[in-house]
């Protein structure tokens, strides 16, 4: 009886595999198209004159749908093909900068990039559709900026060339500043100013680090593969400084403690689709960069900075965990919670093993989905309840049962309940910590599961339980708001039930990138060295 | 007693110093202007002196003199523009004391 689904899946994957080999030309164009289409749509919307609202919405919808669906398609083809975590769908285009700077338009997906790419597509679809029906003022401008963001995000995770990696990141980052300033909640001007300066600083430090790295490796191509190839086996001096630059630069962008203060206020003040895309996808840029660039190329530097990273990550987890518990505003709480979860990911990186890094990637993808979902639902809660202050909300459960169910599910996912995607990543990180140089960190890290349960359940209880307070004008969550949420929830569920979707490419990708980092188990029967 | 190059240069430097100190220390814009012209005159004098004393019978140096003609012409233009600005300033704030002209400050 279990044979039937297995046979079905085998058939599907055989189809996808043959598609992968035969349609490789199409896939190359698809990669470029996924980045270009949102940008083209944004341009079209910007230059065209008066357009009826439906046209605007339709154009934007296409702009979000195409990258989303193509990311899922490419992901399916990749999963079905036997790549051992290597690169697929490579695009290599010379734009005239190659001779002097070694910069090509080099796109490609490997085992580590693929889950992030799919995350960008999925969350982009959800955020885009939520934005389209959100009815904000100046919808057209909003959608244009959001489309630019989406194009940038697709480019970030499919770039192999480092300069384009950074370039697309800026593409995705800068619209957020504008969107917070125009469509944000109260206090948006100050927050936009702070976020702009802070994140630009982080980006500049990152750029300095990346360029310095390029110069030191002496590679001919300013790309991840090029630098790895130039470096294979040999090290070079100044790894500590370089890694420090990259860690701090990426760290600012990822809200590493103590560079985290911009994050909660930015996410709380930003409009929901912006928060979804930023907290859900854009933040992962920093950790993705560390995993793909800094850690493989700078192992000595990583070891040197390990102890400091340990304390900073614990700061994220415990200090910000307590800060989150003290929050009264729902969106501020979610923003702080997102900062806290980055602590888990950094601890996974700190463990510096295949388990740790692989689990960190899984956790980041899951976190992206769950935090985007939570911000979406928190926005719906705020719209229905009139406020985001949890002490004033209450008793919404009887009037908005569907919203309550979705919110509780999203919160459970965020807390790390098995059955949702976050569990696998967090479990892997915990397992890897015991084998790290400092096993005691596991005891502190696990406190995080208690802390997250406390604030998560408190939020659900405050908002939804209790006697109903006042009227809810618009009723329960609408269909147009529900479908983006269900999309994200379905993804969380699917990965939660079947983690191999993400863990297989990640596992192979990480083993390829870090072949000597599998930890050793000393079993009583002798040493079982489980490297593959 | 023959007058050498050093004597002309000495006068030139003296004139330049007087002009420079005047620019630094005088408060009336017109006086500052006149001191600016004084500095220009000083440089003119020095140039002509160099031209006169460094040319030999076989190789007369005309560069200094030509330079001086340029300076005179440009000085005239500059004075015209500057005086126009001062007149406009007078029409605006009825004074040409440097101490009163402070609008471009922090």
């Amino acid at each position: 009886m279990t044979q039937l689904p297995i046979a079905f899946l085998d058939g599907v994957s055989a189809c996808l595999r043959s598609a992968g080999t035969s349609m490789s030309g199409f896939h190359v164009y698809l990669m470029i198209f996924a980045i270009a289409l949102p940008l083209i749509m944004a341009l079209a919307l910007a230059v065209s004159g008066k357009l009826p609202e439906r046209m605007v919405k339709a154009c934007a919808a296409i702009g979000f749908l195409v990258p989303g669906l193509s990311s899922l398609w490419l992901g399916a083809v990749y999963l079905a093909s036997a790549t051992d975590g290597g690169y697929m769908f490579t695009v290599l285009a010379d734009l005239g900068l190659s001779s002097r700077f070694g910069i090509y338009l080099h796109l490609g997906l490997n085992g580590i990039a693929l889950p992030f790419y799919m995350l960008a597509g999925l969350v982009g679809m959800a955020a885009g559709f939520y934005a389209i029906q959100s009815g904000v003022e100046r919808l057209r401008l909003f959608l244009i900026l959001l489309l630019v963001m989406q194009g940038g995000l697709m480019g970030v995770f499919s770039s192999v060339d480092v300069l384009f990696f950074y370039f697309f990141h800026e593409f995705a980052l800068i619209p957020t500043f504008v969107m917070i300033a125009i469509w944000g909640r109260t206090g948006r001007k100050a927050v936009a100013l702070e976020v702009t300066i802070y994140l630009t600083l982080g980006a500049m430090i990152t750029l300095a680090g990346l360029i310095a790295l390029y110069v030191f490796t002496g590679a001919t191509e300013f790309s991840m593969t090029g630098m790895r190839a130039a470096l294979w086996g040999s090290g070079f001096p100044h790894q500590g400084t370089l890694f420090g630059l990259l860690l701090i630069g990426f760290g600012i962008l990822v809200s590493l403690f103590p560079f985290h203060t911009w994050a909660p206020r930015a996410y709380a003040t930003a409009p929901a689709p912006v928060a979804m895309l930023h907290a859900g996808v854009l933040k992962k840029f920093g950790l993705y960069g560390l995993i793909q660039i800094a850690y493989p190329l700078l192992p000595q530097g990583a070891m040197e900075w390990g102890p400091l990273l340990l304390w900073l990550a614990l700061g994220n987890l415990l200090v910000i965990g307590f800060v989150t518990m003290a929050q009264r505003d729902l969106k501020l709480m979610l923003g702080s919670a997102s900062v806290m979860h980055m602590g888990y990911a950094f601890l996974g990186l700190y463990a510096y093993s295949t388990v740790g890094i692989g689990a960190a990637i899984m956790m980041l993808v899951a976190h992206g989905l769950s935090v985007a979902l939570l911000f979406l639902l928190a926005d719906v809660v705020e719209k229905r309840g009139g406020t985001a202050d949890m002490s004033e909300l209450g008793g919404m459960g009887t009037r908005t049962p569907v919203l309550m169910g979705l919110f509780a599910a999203a919160m459970m996912a965020s807390v790390g309940l098995p059955g949702f995607a976050n569990f696998w990543g967090e479990l892997g990180i915990f397992v890897s910590l015991y084998a790290s140089p400092t096993p005691w960190v596991l005891y502190l890290a696990l406190l995080g599961i208690i802390i997250s349960a406390v604030y998560g359940l408190r939020a659900v209880a405050k908002v939804f339980f209790g006697e109903a307070k006042g009227e809810i004008p618009d009723g329960d969550i609408k269909a147009s708001e529900k479908w983006p949420a269900l999309l994200l929830l379905a993804a969380l569920f699917l990965i939660g039930l079947w983690p191999r979707l993400i863990s297989d490419p990640v596992n192979e990708g990480v083993l390829q990138t870090f072949p000597d980092r599998a930890p050793v188990i000393t079993a009583p029967a002798g040493e079982i060295s489980l490297t593959e | 007693m023959s007058i050498g190059l050093e004597d002309y240069l000495f006068v030139s430097i003296l004139l330049f110093a007087i002009g420079f100190l005047g620019v630094l220390l005088r408060k009336n814009t017109l006086i500052v202007f006149m001191c600016l012209e004084l500095m220009l005159s000083a440089s003119i004098l020095a140039l002509i002196a160099f031209s006169r004393y460094n040319s030999t019978a076989a190789n007369p140096l005309m560069e200094g003199n030509v330079f001086v003609l340029f300076i005179i012409a440009i000085a005239a233009c500059e004075v015209a523009v500057g005086l126009a600005i001062i007149v406009a300033l007078w029409r605006r704030i009825q004074t040409v004391e440097l101490g009163e002209i402070k609008e471009l400050k922090h």
């Binding site: 518990m325 309940l417 059955g419 015991y434 349960a453 | 101490g99 922090h106």
Partner: protein
């Protein structure tokens, strides 16, 4: 059909029901009830088929890799042996009757769809724990059971108690899971595997790898799930949920999962660990029994009773295993005595505690949601069947010889206590007396005498969907003590591995049980009086009553901790974060940059003369540079 498929069907049937309910039957109560009940029936039916036809009794293990990250391999699989067979039966059997009961009991509830969906999710999670073949899988379902419990305790979402109780249950469980997960990870890195079969072998080959710390950390999970002290505080509050939930989750199955886990991983506990475990169980049993005397709510009394009996089970495991260590070959099969003792009591307890809770549900339903026993009274006339079955339950829990199931199971525990730890034996015997006393108190006040309130007067017998499960469970409560009655496949544990007293000890145990139960019940009648309106102990001996009611201030201490320590710490840290990091570091840096700006602005005085001075100084600087005076500084 092979065993693996059947087990998968057993596991997935309730999940399927829950999925269908979520998709189609959220508002359609009848459809939801049917789906859930069908799933429960499927589970029971397939399990019975398994025992009587399909399974030959040998241990069956199958597993499939589910995720791999480097050397970490997580798999799902089933392990069917005598222990899981018994537990599967308990869960399936009791679960089915409680499903049936819920159909009648929840008939006026507007959120039935959500309730039955949650019930099915719970069955799925619980079966996952029962059938799991490795520790990570068990942990997954452990968490899922915690979630189902959260969802179901919080069923009445409009009440504040439900919100607080469900939160408390989940968080206290998480505190236990904290130690639990550390223990599992420690086991993984020490042995290289978490598969139960593999661990048993490895632990057998190298007993030194098993450390006390490992065992105690794993026991943390049991502390949380089975509500042992000091993590017991969530169980009484969990009574805020509907009564069928209290019966199923918080009496019969979920809380017993901790004891089941001990049985599954018995080889990971050293002698010291077992000693500590035993004492935790004994202390819990005693304290909970004392606290039961201070309660007026019928469900709360039963909740403390559950706590007490769970203490018995845990103590039985600990001391039974120690007994096996000393009387057997040290490791291996003799340790099964601990499993036998605790599982036997778990089984009988599941029967009579579910019966008692369902009976209380019948009473609450009939008295229109009155839960205070002093407002009841005289129910024996209005609800004869309920009274009779409830009496069977009371007799069972008190351990009346031969007709109460707990007589046999508690006996075994008392016997191993006597053989390994005499002080514990004395305490447990005293607790047995207390058990009979407080259960007797409950029975005589609520059921006997005259009605004390309008709702008690208007009580009437409940419909068949409520009464039938009571009757079935009452029969089991009487018959469940007779190990010989268990079918062959189920009864392996209870027939072979329950430590029975021999010879003079046998008579001693009999006498002790008889005295404790009969004297306890009789004393209850005398002291409290039939159908009293007030608690006589409260009236005549207030300090005693206050002592019992205080619950030793655990709840107050925890609440104070949360309000005074944790929340204040959170606010303080948040304040520091805003002050130092956001304020000093970030805004401070901005201020420093601003200072530079202010400094630079001062140059623009607007005075032409000043600008000319600056020009002069710049000229000097350039001249010096050109003339080579600054070479020393610049080190060209």
């Amino acid at each position: 059909m092979d065993l693996g498929t059947v087990l998968s069907m057993i596991l997935l049937a309730p999940l399927l029901a829950a999925g269908l309910i979520w998709m189609f039957a959220r508002q359609r109560a009848v459809l939801a009830m049917t789906l859930s009940l069908a799933a429960a029936a499927t589970i029971l039916g397939l399990s019975l088929w398994l025992y009587f036809q399909l399974w030959d009794g040998t241990a069956y293990e199958v597993s499939m890799e589910w995720m791999r990250l480097g050397p970490l391999q997580l798999s799902v699989g089933f392990l069917l042996n005598d222990l899981s067979a018994l537990m599967l039966f308990v869960v399936g059997f009791v679960g089915f009757w409680i499903h049936l009961f819920s159909v009648g009991y929840m008939n006026d509830d507007p959120a039935r769809g959500r309730f039955f969906g949650g019930l099915s999710i719970f069955m799925f999670s619980m079966l996952g724990i029962v059938l799991a073949d490795n520790l990570f899988m068990m942990f997954i379902f452990w968490e899922l059971v915690g979630f189902s419990s959260y969802m179901l305790i919080g069923h009445y979402i409009t009440t504040d108690e439900a919100a607080q109780a469900s939160k408390k249950a989940f968080i206290v469980n998480r505190v236990g899971d904290f130690g639990f997960l550390i223990g599992i990870i420690m086991v993984y890195w020490t042995f290289g595997t978490v598969s139960l079969g593999g661990l048993q072998e490895l632990a057998h080959h190298s007993p030194d790898s098993v450390t006390t710390a490992m065992g105690l950390l794993l026991f943390c999970g049991v502390l949380g799930k089975s509500a042992q002290m000091p993590l017991h505080v969530w169980l009484p509050d969990a009574m805020a949920g509907p009564t069928p939930i209290s019966a199923l989750i918080h009496a019969a199955t979920m809380v017993a999962a901790g004891v089941y886990f001990l049985g599954r991983t018995f080889f990971l506990f050293t002698g010291e660990a077992l000693h500590i475990i035993s004492w935790v169980g004994v202390v819990t049993a005693l304290c909970a029994a004392i606290w039961a005397f201070g309660q007026r709510d019928i469900k709360k009394i039963l909740a403390y009773s559950t706590l007490s009996q769970l203490g018995y089970m845990v103590a039985g495991f600990g001391m039974g295993s120690l007994y096996g260590l000393h009387h057997g070959d040290g490791h291996g099969a003799a340790l099964y005595y601990g499993i036998g003792a605790s599982m036997f009591h778990l089984t009988t307890h599941a029967f009579f505690k579910a019966l008692l809770f369902l009976g209380s549900g019948s009473v609450i339903h009939a008295c229109h949601h009155e839960q205070d026993i002093f407002e009841m009274g005289g129910l024996y006339k209005k609800m004869p069947l309920t009274t009779l079955t409830f009496a069977a339950g009371v007799i069972a829990i008190a351990g009346v010889p031969f007709i109460g199931a707990a007589f046999f199971s508690k006996d075994a525990i008392l016997y191993v206590a006597k053989m390994t730890n005499f002080p514990a034996f004395l305490i447990l015997t005293g607790t047995a007396l207390l058990t009979a006393l407080y259960m007797g108190r409950l029975f005589v006040i609520a059921f006997l005498g005259k009605p004390n309130s309008k709702s008690a007067e208007h009580a009437h017998e409940s419909p068949w969907t409520i009464v039938l499960p009571l009757v079935v469970l009452a029969v089991c409560s009487v018959a469940g003590g007779y190990a010989g009655l268990y079918p062959e496949r189920l009864g392996v544990l209870v027939q072979n591995w329950v430590p029975l007293a021999h010879g003079s000890d046998h008579t001693l145990m009999l006498v002790i049980s008889a005295v404790a139960s009969v004297v306890g019940l009789g004393l209850a009648g005398l002291v409290y009086g039939f159908g009293s309106k007030t608690d006589r102990v409260e009236d005549k001996a207030p300090p005693v009553y206050a002592f019992a009611k205080s619950k030793f201030y655990f709840d107050e201490i925890y609440n104070a901790y949360v309000a005074k320590v944790q929340d204040r710490l959170a606010d303080f840290v948040s304040f520091l974060d805003t002050l130092f990091i956001s304020g000093l570091l970030v805004k401070g840096t901005a201020a420093v940059a601003g200072l530079f700006g202010i400094g630079a602005r001062r140059v623009h005085t607007g005075s032409v003369a000043a600008y000319v001075w600056w020009f002069f100084f710049g000229l000097l600087l350039f001249g010096a540079f050109a003339g080579g005076f600054l070479d020393g500084i610049l080190q060209k």
